[in-house]
Amino acid sequence: MKVVIMGCGRVGGKLAGLLDIEGHNVTILDIDDYSFRRLPPEFGGTALVGNGTDEDALKKAGIEKADAFIALTQGDNRNIMACQIAKHIFNVPQVLCRTYDPLRQELFGSLGIETFSPTTIFAQMLKERLLKAKPKGEKKAK
């Protein structure tokens, strides 16, 4: 499948590498080419300097033929806007969005953008891990 990823941070770079190894056609966009150092050395996809909220940059990245678009920059609003462009202008079948803000995740989830909040997911995970480990910890404390 053809995947366009916006934002080559730790998550973007890692995901691009994972998909590439499995034989998917990956194009990753970032406004700073220094970010592409995070891609694995054997990365066989395309790394493009460009802004994912810019329609021309998205076209260059092949958005018109993409099966999926994933927005992973540091900016929640930028991710939301890029996903809305991918979904509503380029009709990309699968669009995934990261927003750190849980409230924005809720709102834009309800507006039809599949949105994930690492804040919620990670806090939940830590809470579960902590409560599971608690009895043991209490014993040790005594």
Binding site: T53, D54, E55, D56, G75, D76, N77, R78, I80, M81, Q84, I85, H88, I89, D101, L103, R104, L107, F108, S110, L111
Partner: protein
Amino acid sequence: MYIIVVGGGQVGYYLAKALLDEGHELLVLEKDAARTAFICSDLGSVCVRGDGCEMTTLAEAGAGRADMFIAVTGEDEDNLVSCQAAKHKFNVPRTVARINNPKNETIFKKMGIDVTISSTNIIMESIEEEMPTHPLTHLLDIQEQGLEIVEIKIPSHSPAIGKTVKELPLPAGNTLSLIIRSQQKPFVPDKDTILEAEDQIIAITTPESEEALGTALRGS
């Protein structure tokens, strides 16, 4: 009317000032502390420090009872997201967004922002209209109906000179509403009005047909 303005830069500040003068109840949301303090010292307590894209900030600002929501920050994505939050989370009846990159106009419209104002386009057009060779001047956009009111001056070499209005190849839906002729009172033309050189014409057109209108009145 209760109006929330997001972004206290030059546009937000002068807009707030104008809206206060008109007697509206107003609140400006601004991220920067120093800018917030400046606006408050200048205009009174009408500015709160906060991110206009945060639901909690919007709730505290009373977005739920706002009649109008205007986002004028320098970042298009922030303007888009805050307007969508106002519209869908707080049901603000009218949302207005400033667009910096003209390319973004389509997505803002698709996402249901009621009014979009492309600052780059406006500046560009104003400068273009100062060029002596510029064919037409935009006077007013009527966004809801996709119409615009423009002014066109008939140059001395125009093929329209000496012709009646009904003989002109005007694009469908275009209307010549007023002619301003030197030494005369402005008048509303009818189909038999003959055009003269240097006539200033106020016309109703559409963004799609304005070029054809310009050609009809000025030649190519």
